[in-house]
């Protein structure tokens, strides 16, 4: 027998219903944590994305936003249970995307919300396509429809990492690895940013000594940081099957954890998306348990 992903081509993994229930539940929880408690932005000084099209400042009304937030919670519970994703997920993705667009229309583009919104949108569009083909899918999508939605989610995650790798090669003129030792300045900068955000001293080794070590040892720096670029470029392999998704997801997660440690910079939403859709730990735990039980019964 072969495990899924034994061939080097893109495949929609036939995830079990319980796997996708866990995926949706954790993703819904992630979406819940990403929506702020209030929106302080009463203007759109530098419109961005949806901010070009819509005036989203009405979200700054605390009473209205409070109601919308309650609806968001209800919608996410319904989505996690797989009920009417066209409405439940559609509402949740619409709200968080609107908030993100307003937040990014202040002249400071952050990158913590985009991938969550895009993954949600990919799942929603997948549901829409399925519903158009079969109206019965609207209320409660079939197993195959959910599998397709999960695959689309993986595609958008993979595409984002590959794009990020392409941008590194384009923006640096192909010299990203050559330029890497100058990341030492970025380390000093990010640790300084954290200090000036809170005035809590950054006294760890990564903040006080590592930047200077990196500046003085360029090849050592390249050795540690280059695998991150390779994993981003090779993220396409995550679509081949479960094992390759585990390896790519694990590698990218390791990259984020390394960045978190050395730069004091976290991309927690990205980390969770890798854990949910690529690493998919519950499946491997189930497989391990089943393997143990099979051996015992044999």
């Amino acid at each position: 027998m072969r495990l899924t992903g034994s061939k080097f081509r893109e495949a929609t993994i036939p995830h079990a219903g319980w796997e996708m229930l866990v995926m949706r539940a954790v993703f819904a929880w992630l979406m819940w944590t990403m929506l702020p408690g209030d929106v302080p932005y009463a203007s759109q000084p530098v419109p961005n994305g949806l901010g070009w099209v819509f005036d989203l400042t009405w979200l700054a009304n605390p009473d209205l936003f409070g109601l919308l937030r309650i609806g968001y919670g209800v919608a996410l519970v319904a989505f996690a249970l797989g009920v009417v994703p066209l409405l439940s997920l559609g509402y949740a993705v619409g709200l968080i995307t609107a908030v993100g667009a307003l937040e990014n229309s202040q002249g400071a583009i952050g990158h913590h919300l985009q991938l969550v919104c895009l993954v949600g949108a990919a799942m929603w569009i997948s549901s829409l396509v399925s519903s158009r083909a079969d109206v019965r899918q609207v209320l409660r999508p079939s197993l195959a429809t959910n599998q397709t939605a999960v695959h689309w989610s993986k595609m958008i995650i993979v595409a984002s990492y590959v794009t990020s790798a392409c941008v590194k090669l384009i923006a640096s003129g192909g010299a990203w690895i050559v330029q890497l030792p100058d990341i030492s300045l970025q380390l000093i900068k990010t640790h300084a940013n954290v200090f000036y955000d809170t005035l809590i001293p950054q006294s760890g080794w990564a903040a006080t000594q590592l930047p200077y070590l990196i500046a003085e040892h360029p090849n050592l720096t390249r050795l540690f940081f280059t695998p991150g670029l390779i994993f981003e470029l090779g993220a396409l392999a995550a679509l081949w099957g479960r094992r390759s998704a585990l390896v790519v997801g694990g590698g990218l997660l390791l990259m984020h954890l390394l960045v978190r440690w050395v730069m004091n910079l976290s991309f927690s939403a990205h980390e969770w998306l890798l854990v949910i859709f690529l690493i998919n730990l519950p499946y491997w735990v189930w497989l391990g348990l089943r393997s143990i039980l099979d051996k015992k019964s044999a």
């Binding site: 929609t12 009463a42 993979v158 300045l185 300084a192 940013n193 393997s291």
Partner: protein
């Protein structure tokens, strides 16, 4: 490890392509191309963080008139990273009008945009429930440089006060 499976649970709906199967599908290529073309327009992003490195970098922080740093999140309700982005975006918008680039901005232009950014940050801080000081806030810029020998130097200057 051997894993038993039923045909339905293990069957994969693979794309029927011959040869070069490991290459990305056209829809994946299209997706990457679309994200690159659309760029930084929310909710799209090509995630350009740390896509290139220079031997010079800068960061900004807030201080009081005596030069003592202020905790940005506490006094204006947002991070110093955001303060820098907000300031630079506004500076870029100003200098682009005369066909220049950010690096060509004059001290007067930097001070003007610095004051405008601080005004905006005060308003944002008040709406966020931050402890905005009544005394002037100073925007400080720190420029870092790495020499060819790996030595790192640091220069600091006042951008604006408001």
């Amino acid at each position: 490890m051997r894993v038993e499976s039923t045909p339905t649970s293990e069957t994969e709906h693979r794309q029927q392509r011959r040869g070069w199967q490991w290459l990305p599908s056209w829809r994946m290529v299209g997706l990457v191309a679309a994200i690159l073309v659309i760029g930084e327009q929310f909710p799209f992003s090509y995630f350009p963080m740390y896509s290139s490195f220079d031997p010079t970098a800068d960061y900004y922080y807030l201080a009081n008139e005596e030069g003592e740093p202020l905790a940005s999140v506490e006094v204006v309700g947002t991070s110093t990273a955001n303060v820098k982005k907000m300031y630079r975006e506004r500076l870029r918008e100003l200098v682009v009008r005369r066909g220049a680039e950010e690096d060509d901005a004059t001290e007067q232009e930097r001070a003007q945009i610095g004051r405008e950014t601080l005004t905006y940050l005060r308003e944002l801080g008040l709406r966020s429930g931050a402890a905005v000081p009544s005394e002037p806030i100073v925007l400080q810029r720190v420029v870092l440089h790495r020499s060819g020998e790996g030595e790192i130097t640091r220069q600091e200057r006042v951008v604006a006060s408001n």
